[in-house]
């Protein structure tokens, strides 16, 4: 049956090649699409992870609490596994004043380790080394018309601290998003505490070495260990701390499934068309086969085999091409869009260089669609072929 199906496909090489080409193109485009989108999605999530830390400790019920007094806490000692690092941070809002200009800013007090992580975004100057030194986003510095060595005053009344604190600008940060860059003020943790809440932090970030982007098991394990030892505090994985992104993860899979389905629906319709034409051309032959004793079930199997072979070879070619291109994308690529558009995409945190990703799930999705389409498209022509009356079919004139 398999050989017969193969031979039938070779009898109409033009049509078989066209259909095979369509299937290969659809599989190729699906893999390309999945790889590029996953790369972009990963880039967004990586950015979130870099800002959140693998685990984050905050006051219990922090989402419902509004005032700094309820949100700030004295950092407890934490027993962490070897290699893990802990950073405290104090976040608050302030008005940053320079001469006759001012801007509302997000002020973050950081420990030296966290400052070192910011070093790659440093576009001018150096990291703070002493109290009273600050890093400003480039856009913020431009808006306030200050540069390295200038003094700015952070004004944040109503908290537990001094409410006003002067800083000297020692470094400028080039962040991907201008909106964020225009409101970023990073200062030493001790200074932020003096300004906002002495001795306290609003969050603790835990970093674990060698944990991949989607590796949640080690994070859950450490969270399970830490939570009972931190009464009044909540420990969250980076995804739990960003519930909107957590909600996006399953949604992403559904959306990708629908997108790829749209490609395959077209391929399925074209395949159905090709199989039907092939049936029409061979009605007399099918009649003869039936007259010679081939049962309806075996006729159906023959058509199904033809469909599976056609899709199998097409999907194989598409898979090879898709994986080949994906391997190139996995080393890093830039979206083929005008520079002005790419710069605007950066404003949403999308880096210029993305890294393609294809998971086994993506390959299964593509191949599943291919097999599904092969079977579904063959059902109707196979049914028609199996119901042919031998005598009528052998007399068939188109």
């Amino acid at each position: 049956m398999f050989r017969l199906a193969w031979r039938n496909l070779l009898r109409t090489p033009g049509r078989s090649l066209t259909t095979l080409g369509v299937v290969a193109l659809v599989v190729f485009l699906s893999l390309l699409f999945l790889s590029v989108y996953a790369g972009a999605f990963d880039a967004f999530l990586r950015l979130i992870l870099e800002r959140t830390g693998h685990l984050v400790v905050r006051v219990e019920g922090y989402r419902e609490k509004e005032d700094l007094e309820s949100l700030a806490f004295t950092p407890p000692p934490l027993d962490l596994p070897p290699g893990a690092t802990l950073e405290g941070a104090l976040e608050g809002a302030a008005l940053l004043i320079a001469g006759e200009r001012s801007r509302a800013v997000s002020l973050t007090g950081l420990e030296p380790e966290a400052f070192r992580r910011e070093k790659r975004a440093l576009s001018a100057g150096r990291l703070p080394e002493a109290p009273g030194e600050a890093l400003l986003g480039e856009a913020l510095a431009r808006a306030l018309r200050v540069g390295l060595g200038d003094e700015v005053v952070a004004y944040a009344p109503g908290g537990l601290g001094l409410g006003v604190y002067p800083f000297r600008v020692v470094g400028l940060l080039d962040l991907p998003e201008t909106q964020l860059e225009a409101r970023t003020l990073l200062v030493p943790l001790e200074d932020a505490q003096l300004l906002l809440a002495p001795g306290r932090v609003t969050l603790l970030r835990v970093w674990l070495p060698g944990v991949g982007l989607y590796e949640m098991a080690p994070l859950e394990a450490l969270k399970g260990e830490l939570s009972p030892r931190l009464p009044g505090l909540s420990v969250e994985t980076w995804l739990e701390a960003n519930p909107l992104y957590a909600a996006l993860l399953p949604l992403y899979d559904v959306v990708m499934g629908v997108y790829v389905g749209i490609f395959f629906a077209l391929a399925g319709l074209i395949l159905l068309n090709a199989l039907y034409l092939s049936l029409v051309e061979r009605i007399r032959e099918f009649g003869l086969l039936a007259a010679l004793g081939l049962t309806g079930r075996r006729v159906m199997a023959l058509v199904l085999w033809e469909s599976l072979l056609l899709v199998g070879v097409g999907a194989g070619v598409g898979l090879l091409l898709g994986l080949g291109v994906h391997l190139t994308l996995a080393d890093g690529f830039r979206l083929p869009l005008p520079q002005a558009l790419l710069e605007q995409y950066r404003e949403f945190g999308l880096p210029e260089v993305l890294y393609g990703r294809l998971s086994p799930k993506d390959l299964l999705l593509t191949l599943g669609y291919a097999v599904g389409v092969a079977v579904l498209a063959a059902l109707w022509p196979a049914y028609l072929a199996s119901r042919l009356e031998p005598v009528e079919a052998m007399r068939y004139v188109p």
């Binding site: 033009g14 049509r15 066209t18 259909t19 369509v22 193109l25 509004e66 005032d67 700094l68 608050g92 809002a93 302030a94 008005l95 004043i97 006759e100 200009r101 001012s102 801007r103 509302a104 800013v105 997000s106 431009r142 808006a143 004004y155 944040a156 009344p157 109503g158 908290g159 909106q179 409101r183 909107l244 992104y245 909600a247 996006l248 949604l251 749209i262 629906a265 077209l266 319709l269 074209i270 159905l272 068309n273 090709a274 039907y276 034409l277 029409v280 051309e281 979206l335 869009l337 558009l341 605007q344 995409y345 404003e347 949403f348 188109p398």
Partner: protein, 398 residues
């Protein structure tokens, strides 16, 4: 006319085959219509959000302000504008401030507006969900999500602190209205105060003039104003006032339009594949027609006409279905949940929670490309069969 009737009769001879290939064209037509409707609807939703809520259809400011948006780059005197298409104009004063409620401190951009002037220009005054719009100095209207974050309610006081030309200033304002506009920038960050209060806080007159002009004429009016305005002033249309979200719209068009072209080409391949089989079945018939006087090119034209007609049948049904779908999605906010999620993810994007697809007759013209592709491909492939027809061989029935 005879050729057309002949082509039509030929299609009707194989109803099932014609129906099947129409299915491919229907699918592609619906996809084309829906994608164009969606993309244009998305663009219109952005124009609506930025033109009627976040910014204005056209804005005029000093060139220095566009480069460095700070109150001290505002007007020293309001410019006089005379343009027949300007339906309304109102001054605005945007400045950066610290918003302080009894519980929480938050930074943001405050917009000083003339309450009556704003009513003629913006839809924001009509989106007050609780309380009322501004009527006098000493009042503030806030976006609902911002009010939640600040934990302030109607009747409570909010302190707005700024530092600009006038030096550090603060005003205690009564919250008189809470906005629910369904536009991210308004709901998540909108702060509207009386123009007099804004002037008292900053010492500036106004940062820009917002103009109302007829929909679709924004760029034209901005360009015409720029020819009339003094050198140091610059008018911008709504598309130039949009933030980075414009990249998402433009990038989507760049991505989907080639994809839709590919879809149409594949549908044409399916049509031509069927036509090819149909022509091969009828070579003898074609030979008879040729011997009766029709030229080989006339025959090829007949084949192209058959393919185009078959596509036309699918196109007509696809247009019916596609426009039906667009009619529904243009009156029902089916993308609302998706847009609300996007708004939460990108609160500063200017996205609107309402996205209705556009319905334009020109989509039928775009989708019609499948008919042209089918006809041309049919000329190239099955058309070649009839051009190289050997009359004696087929007339003898070999």
């Amino acid at each position: 006319m005879t050729l057309l009737r002949l082509a039509w009769r030929n299609l009707l001879r194989q109803k099932r085959r014609t129906g099947l290939l129409s299915l491919v064209v229907i699918y592609v037509t619906v996809a084309v219509l829906f994608m164009f409707g969606f993309l244009d609807g998305y663009g219109e939703s952005l124009v609506e959000a930025y033109g009627a809520y976040v910014e204005a259809p056209v804005e005029v400011a000093r060139r220095a302000y566009w480069e460095d948006p700070d109150p001290n780059q505002g007007f020293s005197a309001l410019p006089a504008l005379a343009h027949p298409l300007v339906q309304a104009a109102t001054p605005r004063l945007a400045f950066y401030a610290l918003l302080r409620s009894p519980y929480r401190l938050e930074g943001g951009v405050v917009l000083g507006v003339d309450p009556e002037g704003e009513k003629a220009l913006s839809r924001v005054p009509y989106k007050v969900a609780e309380g009322r719009w501004l009527s006098a100095p000493g009042e503030v209207v806030l976006g609902a999500k911002l009010a939640e974050r600040l934990d302030v309610r109607l009747g409570e006081r909010l302190v707005v602190e700024a530092s600009a030309l006038k030096g550090p200033q603060a005003l205690g304002l009564a919250v008189v209205g809470i906005l629910r506009a369904g536009v991210s920038n308004v709901d998540y960050g909108g702060v509207y105060v009386h123009l007099e209060d804004a002037r008292a806080l900053t010492g500036a007159l106004a940062t820009h003039l917002a103009l109302k002009v007829p929909r679709g004429r924004e760029a034209q009016v901005a360009a015409e104003l720029n020819a009339l305005l003094p050198e140091d002033l610059l008018a911008k249309g709504v598309w130039d006032l949009m933030g980075p979200i414009r990249a998402d719209y433009e990038g989507s068009r760049l991505f989907y339009i080639p994809l839709l072209l590919l879809f149409m080409l594949l549908a044409a391949v399916a049509v031509v594949s069927t036509t090819y089989v149909s022509v091969r079945e009828r070579l003898r018939e074609f030979a008879v027609v040729e011997s009766l006087g029709l030229t080989p090119w006339g025959l090829a034209g007949l084949v192209a006409l058959e393919a185009a007609l078959a596509s036309l049948v699918g196109l007509a049904l696809g247009l019916l279905l596609g426009y039906g779908l667009l009619a529904y999605t243009s009156t029902h906010n089916v993308f609302g949940p998706l847009m609300r999620l996007s708004m939460e993810l990108l609160p500063e994007s200017g996205l609107s929670e309402a996205l209705y697809t556009a319905v334009r007759p020109v989509y039928a013209f775009y989708a019609g490309a499948v008919v042209v592709f089918s006809g041309l491909l049919a000329l190239l492939f099955p058309g070649r069969l009839v051009l190289g027809l050997s009359l004696p061989r087929y007339l003898k029935g070999e």
